[in-house]
């Protein structure tokens, strides 16, 4: 993807001006977060006394502590289900909505609704929906003569939580894809119609390739969100003092940093998280080069 205009003469100043704010932000962002976190990951810091050098102890713990390993496994499982789920469902919904049906702005609002609230409020509702003895879901199941399920018990909690997170993220994905779909010129479809292509063929030959920039974006963002997921998981599966029955990495980070006076350990975990997602990002960029179609 080597496209680019070369700035001519005095335009170089404007290039610099346009990039300057982001540049400043990068400096502070880099200094503030990444560098500080890396430095702290090699330290022991309890927030109250000055940090002391700890070498690689925190990193060694990452591989020894079973709780940390568990949270990592959970996070991967969660991401593996969440990312495809969100991308596919929101793309599907966006494509359907793009068909010029009546009342589309009402539908858009309806689908965006979950993305708009804070997790705290909706999680309470979901607790009531998923409840084993008094929940709405089981209530409906029983009406149909089926057995009630313990949705939030250890075995099922992961799936229940993935579902709620997808529910909350469809709205955003839908918006992204709708924006991306508008970029596809109508003439392509018109030309295809004239050539006798049916809707399905149009989707796979025109829509899908041309919406790959948005798919790329959405997949990467969904991955980052999956690895940083916290709110819904916490509200639905929490067990007191920041613990949960489905602990993910961010839980562990939060508890170490804020409850256990172990900011160094938390930083090391955060770096571990960053490295993993960065590796995935490299993979996604490779996919971008091969599969994403820009005009």
């Amino acid at each position: 993807m080597d496209y680019g205009l070369k700035p001519l003469g005095r335009e170089r100043f404007w290039l610099f001006a346009l990039l300057a704010p982001t540049g400043i932000g990068l400096v502070f962002g880099a200094l503030g977060s990444v560098v500080a976190t890396v430095l702290l990951s090699f330290a022991n810091w309890d927030l109250l006394t000055p940090p002391t050098w700890a070498g690689l102890v925190n990193y060694a713990n990452l591989f020894k502590d079973p709780k940390i390993l568990l949270s990592l496994t959970n996070t991967f499982k969660f991401a593996a289900m969440y990312v495809p789920g969100v991308v596919i469902v929101s793309l599907f919904v966006a494509v359907l909505m793009n068909r010029k049906i009546r009342g589309v702005s009402l539908f858009r609002t309806a689908y965006f609704l979950p993305a708009v609230t804070s997790a705290v409020a909706t999680a309470l509702v979901w607790n009531m929906i998923y409840g084993r003895d008094t929940g709405v879901l089981n209530f409906i199941l029983e009406r149909f003569g089926l057995q009630p399920v313990c949705w939030l018990c250890s075995g099922n909690a992961m799936y229940a939580v993935v579902l709620v997170n997808i529910w909350g993220a469809i709205g955003e994905g839908m918006i992204i894809f709708l924006a991306g779909l508008t970029a596809i010129p109508r003439e392509y479809y018109e030309a295809a119609e004239m050539d006798g292509a049916n809707d399905l063929q149009q989707f796979f030959r025109i829509t899908l390739p041309l919406v790959t920039p948005s798919i790329f974006f959405q997949t990467l963002m969904a991955t980052i969100n999956a690895f940083q997921a916290y709110d819904y998981i916490y509200m639905l599966t929490r067990r007191g003092q920041g613990d949960s029955s489905v602990p993910v990495v961010v839980f562990s980070i939060y508890r170490n940093a804020w409850n256990f006076f172990n900011y160094g350990g938390a930083s090391a975990q955060a770096i571990e998280l960053t490295v993993l997602v960065a590796a995935l990002m490299v993979f996604y960029f490779w996919l971008e080069r091969r599969y994403v179609v820009y005009e």
Binding site: F13, N127, C150, Q241, R255, F261
Partner: protein
């Protein structure tokens, strides 16, 4: 050109920085401004504003800025401020967490001030002061205390024709009553009224009391060994387990979550054990309720005493003013206002045994909370308490959802807890 633009941006940022800015505390001495942070509800914010107003009348040279947040937000904000080196002058602390801060040098030693005011603590219940005593002196002072008592739903007892709990009750009687109070009121095959519910994650609510009543203990004196897996303690755990899974009189934590975490409040459980902080919230329920002391176990009667207190930041720029404020909090006028709030028991004996506390708006037997001090034991306080209690709470959680067995899981939890103790030494 580029340099100019960059310089412009830098100057702009610095200008903005100069225009912003928070209040700075005055140097120690006559006029002072101190900041006070605590957790609480909006109702508490109002009362504390009044207390501060009273204080400022008596001490016209001192201005106090009050900041109240909810529990979770409070600790996040407090730790951020401490980490950045800009802590509030005075802040609230929960006794078990006190040593985590004191041992790390974040608190001001109040002993010199206390030595200058030798009679200041005379009217305070001595049990509430214990948690704050260290080898180097007291680094904090309590402002109110909690004891755990048994709450019971009078309407449910009446409907079942049972006598209310008395101060002679034992855990056996509690269990029997709970069994009789567990019903399927609408005949749909599922229990919808339960005899008893208490939180099992935090020891304060039921399990420390029961372990003590059965003759066991929580942790050894020098905090190196966790004792909740010893035989006598196991009897207590077994009783909980039987109530939950044999009698079915104690709903598991999943079910409790469906009722917002408190089945007693939701009118679904007939009894619970909890502290005075729920009283204002419980005041608005539709059923009649009252309190009784904790039941007795084979080794006697036991309950847990805990307190919330205030500490002064070590680097406070107005230590004298801060101490004056703490002193005022322990005085009668302030303690009276707190008593009327109803969230906790005043530490000043004269106020606790007076009308302000005993005849407060919710008409229950508040004296039970005070009498419980006679057999109350202190909630353990030590460095690393948070991490240690999490190891236990996390480890045992699967027992109470029915997914794991009591015995082996308890052993694993104890081992994990001991590891935390070792790493914090």
């Amino acid at each position: 050109m580029k340099l100019r633009l960059f310089a412009l941006v830098m100057v702009a940022t610095l200008l903005l920085a100069a225009c912003g800015g928070g209040a700075k505390p005055a140097a120690g001495g006559a006029p002072a401004e101190i900041s006070m942070m605590m957790w609480g509800d909006p109702a508490e914010l109002d009362v504390w504003n009044q207390i501060v107003a009273d204080f400022q009348q008596v001490n016209p040279n001192i201005k106090v800025k009050v900041e109240v947040s909810d529990w979770d937000s409070y600790w996040t904000k407090l730790k951020t401020l401490l980490a950045a080196g800009t802590p509030p002058d005075v802040f609230a602390i929960d006794a078990p967490l006190y040593l985590d801060y004191q041992s790390r040098g974040a608190l001001l030693n109040l002993q010199p001030y206390l030595d200058k005011n030798p009679d200041m603590l005379n009217g305070v219940y001595p049990q509430t002061l214990e948690a704050y005593k260290t080898a180097d002196g007291m680094f904090g002072l309590p402002r109110d205390f909690q004891t755990i008592v048994l709450f019971y739903n009078k309407d449910m007892f009446d409907a079942a024709g049972l006598a209310y709990p008395t101060s002679d009750w034992t855990y056996v009687e509690l269990r029997n009553a709970a069994k009789q109070l567990t019903k399927d009121t609408n005949s749909d095959g599922k229990m919808d009224q339960f005899g008893f519910y208490a939180d099992l994650w935090d020891m304060e609510l039921i399990w420390s009391e029961a372990i003590w009543a059965y003759g066991g203990d929580i942790i050894n004196a020098d905090h190196t060994k966790t004792l909740i897996g010893e035989p006598k303690a196991r009897e207590a755990w077994q009783m909980f387990h039987d109530m939950m899974f044999e009698d079915m009189s104690w709903p598991d934590s999943n079910l409790a979550g469906e009722y917002g975490g408190d089945p007693f409040l939701a009118g679904v459980a007939a009894m619970t054990t909890i502290g005075h902080w729920v009283v204002p919230g419980y005041a608005e329920v539709k059923f009649k309720w009252d309190v009784a002391p904790m039941p007795k176990g084979p080794a006697g009667q036991a309950t847990s005493v805990n307190s919330a207190g205030f500490v002064v930041a070590k680097d406070s720029k107005s230590p004298d003013a801060s101490f004056e404020f703490l002193k005022y909090v322990l005085s009668e006028p302030a303690q009276k206002r707190l008593a009327e709030l109803g969230f906790a028991c005043p530490v000043l004996k004269s106020v606790a045994e007076g009308d302000a506390f005993l005849k407060q708006s919710t008409p229950i037997d508040h004296k039970v909370f005070l009498d419980s001090l006679a057999f109350a034991r202190m909630k353990p306080v030590f460095k690393g308490y948070d991490e240690w209690s999490s190891a236990i709470g996390d480890g045992m959680a699967t027992i109470w959802t029915g997914e794991a067995e009591l015995g082996p899981t308890l052993d694993t939890a104890v081992t994990a807890a001991d590891e935390v103790l070792a790493s914090n030494k």
